[in-house]
Symmetry: C2
Subunit: 335 residues, 2 copies
DNA sequence: CTTAGCACTCAACATGCCCAAGTGCTAACA
DNA sequence: TGTTAGCACTTGGGCATGTTGAGTGCTAAG
């Protein structure tokens, strides 16, 4: 039996099954694809594929469906990325114009991606390692509560309320603000932990503890918050594509709501710089996603964007969409 | 036939149906509740209730289930709010401590509410009508792009990137910032549209147009953005409670994702100051929610918080939870 | 290695049957 | 007038049975 044809058969099975949602049999296969051989031959090939664990039969006299392993092989060796349609390109292009908020852009991105793929789209807040401090502000909300705001040159604004042990005067805050600002304006956010202590050390002794507290606040703002969050859209697609599989949708929704789970999932997926990464079915560490696949890729300086859908999905098209969107995102938010 | 008993029967039907998820018959009713009469009598009562459109039978020889109208009567006249358990009170209490971000508080609130009710929880960002301007900041991101930040004394921070027609110097921005700040610090956000024009008028002529643009930015930040957004949690509960009804979950998820729909829904629900408002099944303006109910109430100065679930829900408990959470929220965020 | 032919398997569908739950009605009763 | 017991009637759900068709695996021939 020829190796190329075996792969061709697998490809045909995957494509038909993704399209029809029903187990596909040998006869249907030869009818819909011009394989040049008879159904009996296909049957032999299928037996081999089954032995290798690439396809499986739900029951004795039904067609075959791809296994996780089968999809894996399909994605890795068979499928070739489908180019996007002109309309889709246009949609991406026109979506990401205008001088808008990072939040705005991300929100529209997930919406677009979910519409493009008919799946649940997910995007992680961009990594701001390279972002520079543009401004810092301390605002007195209550006698003991200070709002610490940090603004980066990327347009990202993060804030946090912190409790400074004792009452504090507004003048002291203003003083500290200009001190801090003088020293940290223009530095990379990532370097704040190294820079801040020296600023604190130079403060007047009576403000030392306050400065320390504020520095802590700034520091925590610089690394956490943002990149630890994700945005998503298109959860309704889950219900649509899983009409017959309503059982699995619960766990999937749970996973999507647990940002921690999604974040681990996304960052665990190595970042293939050439293209998108795919995690199929039980390859996912989280049990609730045993029947789901994730297609994701990095953008900008390392944050992830991607989609989540049933294992039975149109990988080539989906991968193309994710890749295209990620590229535009990188271009707009800077790399 | 006695009017009180009729209501008692309706109550029994609602409670049993909510609990068992199955149409309830006359015999089962007399067994599970001590109504003091025989099943035949109950049958007569049920016939009347059906005639009045309060209950309905899925088919000839099945029990009855409440109609939307039946639930309505139940909620309005029969049910009495169930007090929360001590554990639940404690959960609410302990959840909302610590000097945290508004976003933080809201996020934890929806989580809590969804766990408490086993439904999808929704909360609108608080109205900041009474909030006072604490600080404003203009940050130059690119030669023509300015990040406008507005900070209120409530700890809310809103920002927006705007495109100022031509290149602008940082010094000009700083100058304008202090001008603006001097005039608007301490004013109510809601009054900004009235105050800003006079500030613009007093600016040096060469900065007039820039000032105008920035004023526009501040103005748009003051009313929109925040209160127009909602936060939600617990969508996985939809899948859990609707194991048998997987059809309706799609449209519901769609509605939940359309913030506009949810916002209209919430604000259309009059704000009964004494307690929570309930919108049942087809009472909802949105078709996708024909089998869903919304239980909501106002908090703070008018924003809404509530839950969304199947019409067949435990209204008394749910209403109690929503009310309690809203109260705590009001207390913490100020009314 | 491929193919035709054939026996075999099994889910899906249909049919018919029975049962239990539940109703509505009527007539008797307090 | 309201309540009750009794009874005929309806009907969905469960179950056994039969049928069909898609699909397989195997064998023997090309």
């Amino acid at each position: 039996m020829s190796e190329p044809r075996k792969l061709e058969v697998l490809r045909a099975i995957v494509e038909d099954y993704v399209h029809s949602r029903e187990p596909v049999g040998s006869k249907a296969l030869v009818e819909r694809h011009h394989l040049g051989v008879s159904s009996a031959t296909i049957r032999n090939d299928m037996a081999v594929l089954e032995e290798e664990g690439l396809i499986a039969a739900p029951h004795t006299s039904a067609g075959r469906i791809p296994t996780d392993k089968g999809y894996r092989l399909f994605v890795d060796r068979i499928s070739q990325v489908k180019p996007l349609s002109a309309a889709e390109r246009r949609a991406i292009h026109s979506l990401l114009e205008g001088p808008d908020d990072v939040d705005d852009i991300l929100e529209r991105t997930v919406r677009l991606l979910s519409q493009l793929t008919n799946q649940v789209a997910v995007v992680q807040y961009p990594h701001s390692n390279r972002a520079l401090v543009r401004h810092a502000e301390f605002v007195l909300l209550a006698p003991r509560q200070v709002l610490v705001v940090l603004i980066a040159d990327t347009g990202s604004v993060v804030q946090k309320v912190i409790d400074v042990g004792s009452e504090v005067a507004n003048e002291a805050l203003m003083l500290l603000r200009s001190r801090f600002l003088g020293s940290i304006a223009g530095t990379q956010l990532a370097l704040l932990p190294q820079v801040l202590p020296s600023v604190v050390a130079l403060c007047p002794p009576d403000l030392r503890t306050l400065a320390q507290t504020l520095a802590h606040g700034l520091e925590s703002l610089s690394d956490t918050s943002r990149e630890e969050r994700i945005l998503m859209a298109g959860t309704a697609n889950l219900a649509r594509s899983n009409v017959d599989f309503p059982l699995s949708i619960g766990p999937v929704l749970e996973a999507l709501e647990e940002q921690v789970v999604m974040l681990r999932l996304l960052s665990d997926m190595g970042d293939d710089p050439r293209g998108v990464t795919v995690s199929i079915g039980r390859e996912n560490p989280y049990d609730g996603l045993a029947e789901a696949s994730v297609v994701a890729t990095g953008y900008g300086s390392g944050a992830k964007v991607g989609i989540l859908g049933p294992t039975r999905m149109d990988y080539p098209t989906t991968m193309a969409a994710v890749r295209a969107v990620a590229r535009y995102l990188s271009r707009i938010l800077g790399g």
